[in-house]
Amino acid sequence: MPGKHVASATDEVCRRCKDNISVLIVRSEPLCHECFARYVHTKAIKRLESFRVNFAASVDQQRRILLPLSFGASSTTLLHILDLHLKTQKSKTGRTGFAINVLCVDEVDQVSACASRLELVRDQYPDHDYTSLPLHHVFRLIPNDSSLGALVPSSSDDDDADSKTKLFRLTASLPSASAHADVLYTLRARLIVEYAKQNACESILWGDSTTKLAEKTLAETAKGRGFSLPWQISDGPSPMGINFHYPLRDVLKKELLSYIELAQPTLTLLVHEPSPGATQASTSSKNTTIDDLMKQYFESVEENFPSIVSNVVRTTGKLEVPASSISELRCSLCSKPVPGGRFGIHGWGGDQHDGVESPSTVIYPGQLCYGCTRSLPQTRAETRIA
């Protein structure tokens, strides 16, 4: 796919420097190699103005940020750009505005692949701290949070199951591919947040591109988590107790792919991005997830209507939670504040009179938000009610 953009460039002169021959067309502007790289860098760095070098601070007061790395195009490019940025700061001022902790969350069954990928990245960008954690450590890092632990289906034989067993039991209980993807994503986010807080990071710099944020907006809407959108899309303090930033929010996914293709081959080697066609391959609705659907949708919209993608993100960014209405009541799974304590899928106009109501509806002591209730089955019964 990235090759397509390069191929679509004509022999026109770069619209910005007016010197070089353009290599691709970016939002209807033909750009040369350097100007395109600058375009991507500027978009990212502009978002990080609050992280400029602070000469008043002493050297041991170095600010720390956490960068979660998935080895996908976005987070890897973000690391690449930040690494360049810190090098520039260092050469100009002798110090940097912040230090980076890179955290890689190992996917289940891929621990060794993650380790070797992380080694490659570390060799390429040796100035930063690297950690890799398996996903099940979320149960270890949040030990006192019994509400998360309470979501794990209990087994009669032992209550002190290790975190790995807990994760296995929790995921084995999920009813669908969508639920599976959703719960893993949620746990991953919680692990990242928890790790960042425990390691004195003041912000998390997520790699999400414009396209990804638009996908997330519609996917979360479809999952019934519309209430939480401001906390998932906006830069700044989050109710998770740490700042969230999305430095690549103004860069489209296809632009990142072009960037990687045009960058030094070393960057390409670090990226493990599923091919764009992969999301379309699954025709069975059983294996398709809501996230897949949205990914597929925005891959096509991005192609011809990039501004519509940006506009979705910009619009969602305008939604705001009135400070007065931030609830103290949290969802046990995603840990987001639940407005008005409206847990579960009942208690609003749309649940009406549900067809089947089993008396033991709630077997978890933990309370879930509307969206998480859809992903985590409420009953062990065979009949699962919507």
């Binding site: 988590r225 519309g226 011809n304 209507f305 990039p306 619009t315 919507a386």
Partner: protein, 439 residues
């Protein structure tokens, strides 16, 4: 393998896989559950008052037919004490509306309800067929939607009815939520999920057509269940799609909703829930209640709901023009130019025909602030409007300007020929203008 018993009565054989939650029900239980849920919607939202006269916006399609049937049943079963009548709007689309109106006439007899049919030609002097002839197929849904909204209110006012119910279902609402997200239209996003809207009266005249309450009792009902209900109750409805195509944004959102439903049946309801929650997050929205409390009714949509027919034909037309508009705004912002976002209004000299996305483009992108609409009255027709002249009047003005004043007759007189040329030019002009505005 023994037949699966119904999950509710445990006696009859389950014949229906409920689209909403995939529970297995027998026919009787499905019908009861479907009706009970609508009763639940009506009572928890206090939609009706005893003795109220209600006009059911009836198109002859499945939604409004089911709505009429269910309301009749519930009115009798729970003794709502409502006076139900049917109100149909004839858009004047040959081969589509004339057949469906026949269905409505039969429904009126079957349900013993009084029926009034009101035509676009009668109200506006234009049938939809004539409009399409004039503006082309692109963007004609805008005309139809704007005209229909007022038509129902005007019809209701004529009949002395203060409350109109429409057949908008959960799929329609979910689709509109996604569509407004895609179009970046926050003000509309905050209104679409309300179950009750009203056009508050700007005048004290009780016969004023601006004081009509609207509600959607089927807001939480799945389209598929509506079809099932109609089928199992042997309801007489007319099923065909409007022959004119829907807006691309709506088509795109509709396709997405259908795919979501396939992946997770509850998704339609989940989008509706998200929409209700997001309505509270729109800055400046007075929708603290998410449209669920009736004391604080959001102002009705000038063009809501689309026409709910025509299957999703994908991306095209208006998405391209919005894309272009947004791209220009971006360039302007990047160049630090003043960002005054104007709708793609054609120049005034040739009698502009601004279409709905003009207004949206203006609102969607204003930095950080969401415009709050101030409602007043259209200075032409007195209908409630946020603009000086309401949308219907603006559209009509455009249409009327391009309509040849004199009848064109075939003749060999030079002057007449010239006149005809002008007439044709006028139409061509109008088409061009419309495509600039609404493409």
């Amino acid at each position: 393998m023994p037949p699966t018993p119904c999950a509710l009565c445990h006696t009859n054989r389950a014949l229906i896989l409920r689209p909403k939650d995939h529970s297995k029900l027998c026919k009787t239980c499905f019908i009861t559950v479907f009706e009970t849920e609508i009763h639940h919607t009506i009572t928890t939202n206090a939609l009706f008052a005893r003795g109220e006269k209600i006009a059911i916006g009836a198109s002859g399609g499945k939604d409004s037919t089911v709505l009429a049937s269910v309301l009749k049943t519930l009115n009798e079963r729970y003794d709502y004490g409502l006076d139900l009548i049917l109100l149909s709007i004839d858009e004047g689309i040959k081969g589509y509306r004339d057949d469906s109106l026949e269905t409505v006439k039969r429904n009126a007899e079957q349900y013993g309800m009084e029926l009034t049919i009101l035509g676009y030609d009668e109200l506006y002097g234009w049938t939809m067929d004539q409009v399409v002839e004039q503006v082309g197929k692109k963007g004609n849904c805008t005309y139809c939607g704007v005209f229909r909204r007022q038509a129902l209110d005007r019809g209701a006012a004529r009949l002395g009815v203060k409350h109109v119910v429409t057949g908008h279902n959960a799929d329609d609402v979910a689709e509109t939520v996604l569509m407004n997200l895609l179009r970046g239209d926050l003000p509309r996003l905050s209104r679409t999920t309300s179950i009750i809207t009203s056009t508050p009266s700007a005048s004290s005249d009780p016969a004023s057509n601006t004081n009509i309450k609207r509600s959607k009792p089927l807001k939480y009902a799945y389209e598929k269940e509506i079809v099932l209900y109609a089928h199992h109750k042997n309801l007489d409805y007319f099923s065909t799609e409007c022959i004119y195509s829907p807006e691309a944004f709506r088509g795109s959102a509709r396709a997405l909703i259908k795919n979501l439903e396939r992946v997770r049946p509850s998704a339609i309801l989940d989008v509706v829930r998200s929409g209700e929650d997001m309505a509270k997050l729109v800055p400046g929205s007075d929708e603290g209640c998410g449209g669920t409390c009736s004391s604080n009714r959001p102002v009705a949509e000038e063009e809501e709901g689309g026409c709910g027919s025509a299957a999703g034909r994908t991306v095209g037309g208006d998405m391209a023009s919005v894309e272009k508009q947004l791209a220009q705004n971006e360039t302007a912002t990047n160049n630090d130019l003043e960002v005054e976002i104007t709708s793609p209004r054609p120049s005034t000299k040739n009698g502009a025909v601004p279409l709905s996305n003009g207004k949206k483009a203006k609102k969607g992108i204003t930095p950080k602030k969401t415009n709050k609409q101030v409602m007043g009255q259209c200075k032409r027709c007195g209908y409630l409007s946020s603009q000086e002249v309401c949308k219907a009047c603006v559209l009509l003005e455009g249409l009327n300007k391009a309509r040849p004043k004199n009848k064109i007759e075939v003749g060999y007189d030079v002057q007449e020929l010239q006149q005809r040329d002008q007439g044709v030019d006028g139409v061509a002009d109008a088409m061009q203008q419309t495509s600039i505005g609404g493409e």
